[in-house]
């Protein structure tokens, strides 16, 4: 899901998560759909009393009442599997607040996957990660999608890091949207219509760069390039 700030990407996620009510329209979500959620990358408090594996464990059954003594063995097994799946064994027992952004984000992925979701909602999970970690995290999510058939809705500012993994793009601008394959949506015509202003989409070495009146709209560094 792409779109400028304030176009409603996070609102759509919040509606799907049940955190926000619709002011109009309907939402069609089958009863009992398991939803995994990877929130926007935000560093955890460094002094927090929590290990990496506890963060993952909360994703498994943190919403249930009780202390959780029953079913402890099952939980530990599932948590171990999820930690292994994201390759976090090395640091899963360390205080989570002291881990790097990339390490925390891998645990976030494990936390979202441990409940075996049917749908995975990711809110800019690559934000503030370096290139290597961006790739690692997007590969992890892609692997999950292929192995378990999980649907993934991935909010991002930057399509290029995940371009080879994307089936469809939902592009939101001011309540208008286009949905289709990257080749259908990421075109000069489609985006010019969406933004209602002249937009050029250029492809350079397999990367997509979107240039508008305000400068570069969509690139690897959307926040840094402004050519007024």
């Amino acid at each position: 899901m792409l779109g400028p700030n304030g176009s409603g990407k996070t609102s759509l996620l919040r509606v799907l998560l049940g955190l926000q009510k619709l002011t109009g329209g309907t939402i069609d979500m089958p009863e009992g759909t398991g939803i995994g959620y990877i929130p926007q990358q935000r560093a955890l408090d460094p002094t927090i009393t929590l290990r990496g594996r506890d963060l993952v464990s909360l994703g498994y059954d943190g919403h249930r009442w009780g202390v959780g003594l029953k079913g402890r063995r099952d939980r530990n097994r599932r948590v171990d599997e999820a930690i292994e799946a994201v390759g976090a064994e090395q640091f899963a027992n360390r205080p989570v607040g002291l881990l790097s952004g990339g390490e925390q984000q891998r645990l976030r992925v494990a936390q979202a996957l441990v409940c075996d979701p049917d749908v995975l909602l990711c809110d800019e999970p690559l934000l503030s990660l370096d290139l290597a970690h961006q790739q690692a995290v997007s590969q992890l999510i892609d692997k999950r999608r292929r192995d378990a058939g999980t649907s993934v809705l991935f909010v991002t500012h930057e399509i290029n890091p995940i371009l080879p993994l994307v089936d469809r793009v939902l592009y939101l601008v001011d309540g208008r949207f286009r949905i289709g394959t990257p080749d259908e949506v990421m075109t000069t015509e489609a985006l010019t219509e969406l933004y209602r202003t002249r937009i050029d989409v250029v492809r350079v070495r397999g990367q997509i760069i979107v240039v508008g009146a305000q400068g570069v709209v969509e690139s690897d560094q959307p926040h840094h390039v402004q050519v007024d």
């Binding site: 998560l17 290990r51 943190g62 919403h63």
Partner: protein, 277 residues
Amino acid sequence: MDKFFDFDKTIEVLQYDFVRNALIAAAILGLLAGVLGPLIVSRNMAFSVHGTSELAVTGGAAALLLGIGVGYGALAGSIIAALVLGVLARRGSEHDSVIGVVLAFGLGLGVLFLWMYPGRASNRFGLLFGQIVSTDSTSIVLLSVCAVVVLAVLAVIYRPLMFASVDPDVAKARGVPTGVLSPIFAVLVGVATALGVQTVGALLVLALMVTPAAAACRITASPLRATILSVVFAEVAVLGGIVLSLSPGVPVSAFVTAISFLIYVGARVFSKVRAAA
């Protein structure tokens, strides 16, 4: 000075019923404070605990004026305080100033109530510094009942509360009713605080509710181990403080806070040394 800690005298005093009652009350309180502590620390509620404890004093003063048991007044005062703070301070950024505002007003009321009381309040009013040696068997029953209720409720809400405390966004997304859990937990803390106020006093209740847990959180990042350590530290501080105070006849609170502070300093040094190693 060599008679300051008289071992024989300590043993002798330990035979008295009132001393035993004090130790039982302290042990219950230590358990309660130790279990709640890590959650208080991870929810940044130290100032809130302090505010609640001062308002327990106001409740006690009101009860004194009305001729009800001071203990019940303290309990009512801190539960009301916990609820008011919970309702007014929904947003994190406001929390700090709201506590300050409510605390100051509440204490002012307390001063008024004490002034209006015709007798000599200080004789019957140990809430500021505690009066653990006056614990009798009826107050132990009240203390035990309160402790069991608080621990039972906490056991039910423990996992979602923990989730909401450390990871509120994801907890909310997973359907944890974070808005309901905060006031429930505030009331649990209020009850524990009121009990603490009557034993170690309002000014020192933080030494049990916050310091042991803060020390434990320095040593381990595992929530389970932090809770166990926090209970152990709280028990060492409160029981140790009472036993040490027996022979010299120094106020209990002085020893309890000193031990608990030393444990905290030790924990900080330990975590520094470990980080350097």
